[in-house]
Symmetry: D2
Subunit: 341 residues, 4 copies
Amino acid sequence: MLHFENDYMEGAHPLILERLAATNMQQCVGYGCDEVCESARRKILSACGLTDGEVHFLVGGTQTNATVIRALLRPYEGVIAADTGHIALHEAGAIEAGGHKVLTIPHHDGKLSAEAVDAYIEAFRRDEAWDHMVWPGMVYISQPTEYGTIYSLAELEALSEVCRKWEIPLFADGARLGYGLMAEGSDVTLKDLARLCDVFYIGGTKVGAMFGEAVVIPRKGFIPHFFTTIKQSGALLAKGRMLGVQFDVLFTDDLYFRIARHAIEQAARLREALVAKGFQTYYSSPTNQVFFVLDDEQLQRMRRVTSFSEWEHLDDGRTVVRLATSWATRPEDVERLIAEL
Amino acid sequence: MLHFENDYMEGAHPLILERLAATNMQQCVGYGCDEVCESARRKILSACGLTDGEVHFLVGGTQTNATVIRALLRPYEGVIAADTGHIALHEAGAIEAGGHKVLTIPHHDGKLSAEAVDAYIEAFRRDEAWDHMVWPGMVYISQPTEYGTIYSLAELEALSEVCRKWEIPLFADGARLGYGLMAEGSDVTLKDLARLCDVFYIGGTKVGAMFGEAVVIPRKGFIPHFFTTIKQSGALLAKGRMLGVQFDVLFTDDLYFRIARHAIEQAARLREALVAKGFQTYYSSPTNQVFFVLDDEQLQRMRRVTSFSEWEHLDDGRTVVRLATSWATRPEDVERLIAEL
Amino acid sequence: MLHFENDYMEGAHPLILERLAATNMQQCVGYGCDEVCESARRKILSACGLTDGEVHFLVGGTQTNATVIRALLRPYEGVIAADTGHIALHEAGAIEAGGHKVLTIPHHDGKLSAEAVDAYIEAFRRDEAWDHMVWPGMVYISQPTEYGTIYSLAELEALSEVCRKWEIPLFADGARLGYGLMAEGSDVTLKDLARLCDVFYIGGTKVGAMFGEAVVIPRKGFIPHFFTTIKQSGALLAKGRMLGVQFDVLFTDDLYFRIARHAIEQAARLREALVAKGFQTYYSSPTNQVFFVLDDEQLQRMRRVTSFSEWEHLDDGRTVVRLATSWATRPEDVERLIAEL
Amino acid sequence: MLHFENDYMEGAHPLILERLAATNMQQCVGYGCDEVCESARRKILSACGLTDGEVHFLVGGTQTNATVIRALLRPYEGVIAADTGHIALHEAGAIEAGGHKVLTIPHHDGKLSAEAVDAYIEAFRRDEAWDHMVWPGMVYISQPTEYGTIYSLAELEALSEVCRKWEIPLFADGARLGYGLMAEGSDVTLKDLARLCDVFYIGGTKVGAMFGEAVVIPRKGFIPHFFTTIKQSGALLAKGRMLGVQFDVLFTDDLYFRIARHAIEQAARLREALVAKGFQTYYSSPTNQVFFVLDDEQLQRMRRVTSFSEWEHLDDGRTVVRLATSWATRPEDVERLIAEL
């Protein structure tokens, strides 16, 4: 049985394990104030083209979204997201538990368009009853999105411009950021994100790490006392060095980018081969997630060969499924999957 | 320079690292639903003498306290704690961020007495204005406490009885539980905790793991939908297997208890030697934390030899300091510290 | 200039003012524990056909919704509402501020159908990722709705049945309940609401009172410690007698129903006359709110004669407007409005 | 039976009732945007010596405290209060429900001293673990206090200076402000409060109104979007005019001050007479609350004559009781009480 159901089925990249073992008995201070965390921060800032931004290491994606959003918003504010956004659907109400409404806008290909955000805010400000409603206080996007699609540089620039026009921060959830940056056709770099977003994070959990998300705040001090808010949110790891080591390894010799590229290549081979065999793609994802619409016969066939996610059941009886590759996907498994379908 | 400032300065026990490496490329499902997590759960339940309780793996202590307390309380309720309790002081307001008041009672040796809790609740229920006040909805204790002291079995039984009398749950924070169970003079076992508490956790972060706390709920279903509340609290690890592996190793061949015992022995040697040298102990801690009152000369001397925590500045100018040992403390470091002081 | 913009433009029914004046200098205990509150509670329970339910008096609608919903839900739960529901749109995020998500379902005529709720919950329970999502923990409806429409007895019974099937409470926002009960064609009584809902409230603010909403809990003890949750929510009036007096007067000699009927009659006359003059109604509201679609010329004309609410701007350039009558609407004002349009 | 148990036993001052009746059928816009609210705001600002501050009308004290504090604090912050503060004890956890910790400091005579606040913050900032703790984000005081005592101008100036030194706002709960301003020996004016506090409120509920608290924000815009936060907190009265009328009457011809003075005079007579009769006062309250320590015989005697509050049971068996006068206290009742004791 093969496994293509998600991108967090293996442990950590071997180089990370190696470095964890090598540094295991070194004694260091806690909470991310140690030297390896400092080193990782410097490497990340450098990759982002920043000289004095902040980097904070958190453990997981839902936690990071909830902590950043709670830190950015005032009580009367909510966060704009696509209706397919992870925070809108699959975080068990973490944003609302922090006191804030998720203001959803219909997605297109899993994305928010600058025009839609602008129109939403403009309509809100014109509404007679606006002051009885939740003020749009920030914009949340995922890069890549939950549908595996990516924002182009032009799209990001337009979103950033709308946010600056309305004076609200733009926050990008980069749980799978590596796969977005390395996607076929992507024209967005870390430096672009650092220039266009007010906060974003570089996902480790799904891109080579055991766990860990690196939050980048390009303007130092933009979120006051963020360390304490992280602690309050239960998101501060006592042995912060574990996060430092992982990101330090990932940002040494471009490891993060190289392993992300590997996943993209496997996904591309898979996509092409399945299309050639007559399977129909669903979303046009250039990242490590591949979506197909299967009829019943195809679904049964796939079930015999590999695990995968059933994404959506269409009205015509067909099923949208997701296959995911990762840094750990073995080319021979891709071959086998192609051969057996 | 030696380091005795806390018990989370090293990485993980070597057997854990070994097992992580050995299982690293195995593919498994996420969120703690894999087989190694199941195995770890079975071992923990067995160590607790439970046949059908629940075990949930979370990442850190503040997170665990906040998640459990939020899951147990209704809006009108608060949590009783010693005024020295971790949740009362050093969790950055995590309990209040979840909507609940920490109702503090003066400690004795870092502990809550059953009598004090009983008297508090009785006074509350008699108060004319009780329904304008926060209802005491549960009791939080730390075993061992923040002062390194431990509850005796009789003390725990009395607390448990008071909680059952008033029909509120008893929750024990076991961030350093191993050191409590193995302390000189301790007469409390995991089975006792499972019998006397409604929820408690077995700390991994400070006792051999990289990170991780195992929440034990002796009565299955006592907290409905706890999985979702964990997710909402940002406390659900995607690669849950990392927690499973760690606890599975810790609960194989009594590793958890053996390494905790090691830390206790090192602390005992340190305590005895320092007392012999005229240093004055402060709290009577039989666990891995050792507290001394130092005059200025002693403080300076200690600063030259080792790192430690400055705990409190007394009015007479002296300083209470804490030295901590752990599963990783090297006997030769204890020797050196003793020799140089 | 006439005023038909909402149903809370005047003070209180003269009989209420009279009784407030008559009892003004009587000394009584606070917080709704006085005798007039008790009398009002008995009258309301009797009108609901209840022998031992509870009645709590709160001040306003948003406050009542937020307090009841917070008291009913556990952390992992959200509240199902129509996407046009007051809690979803016009309460400035009060439900989210209490930690809970509003789970919206598309409305039909401002209403939730039992089928839609059932389908929503069924789909939720079948979803692979349900335990990463907000559990539907209760259903919120407005009777009458924000569009002035009403649930029929059959619709309410079906909703109640679905809620009981899934074991979640049904809560009805009755901010304009009088107008719903007295609407042309309504077949729902207070006794029906008491039988079919787990909590509902009888709105005073918009139906004759200065302010005040009477929350009815048909099963005593269904919400434990609700008094304290009301206090915590800032919803407990110190001089609770003010609420008691108002509801006691409203529930004496059927005043509540008679004045609601008056508003319905004025709205009916207005609706018929405007239709006769060629104005086109929008929603089919049989209550005190009347909705019309106006072209630009009609809009200008109406602006010269009366105030009203602009509800929605249609794509074809026309405007949906709302005219509201109330217990205080003077028949001569209705005449004048009809004459001048 | 006489009644001296609190200061909210009667309805509203007759002039208020009269004005409510006179304006009852006038039609006006809701939510406090009407002309009478504007008039009341102007009068209050003028009494405070402010030209462009803000005034917001809320309904009750707990609600006002919770709303203002939530609006002022960021997630990592808490509010400093005396351990006897209303928000610390008798608001059922309303502040914590809003996500924030109440940081208590021991009171002296119910008050916070500037020195104690300064020392608290200084110790906090020096604490090794400060960033794992709740940041002191504002100071809450009550004028007069829960013990009937008052801050002198010098004390207020010192507190204000400490707050400005540490750059945190000072907020005064004025639920009984009239009685504080008119107390024997008070040297504090509304203008002083407006100069020294960042937010404070003028209590109506206990000083002549049916209900209502007027929040004064001396610097316009100091709390952005406060209207929406009020709405979200369930604290926005639909018929806001009811609050406007009450405060407009109270701030016409100094009514607020005159009726407060009346209560002070009654309390003074009562205090002097009881002292003359050998009763022992407890706190030195110059306001409308009078505290005595009664032995058992005195307690029984008082119970036969009047209602009152039992404040505290002393260890020596005696009881501290509170008698309260108000704007509505009849001199003949004071005479009778004195005569019968």
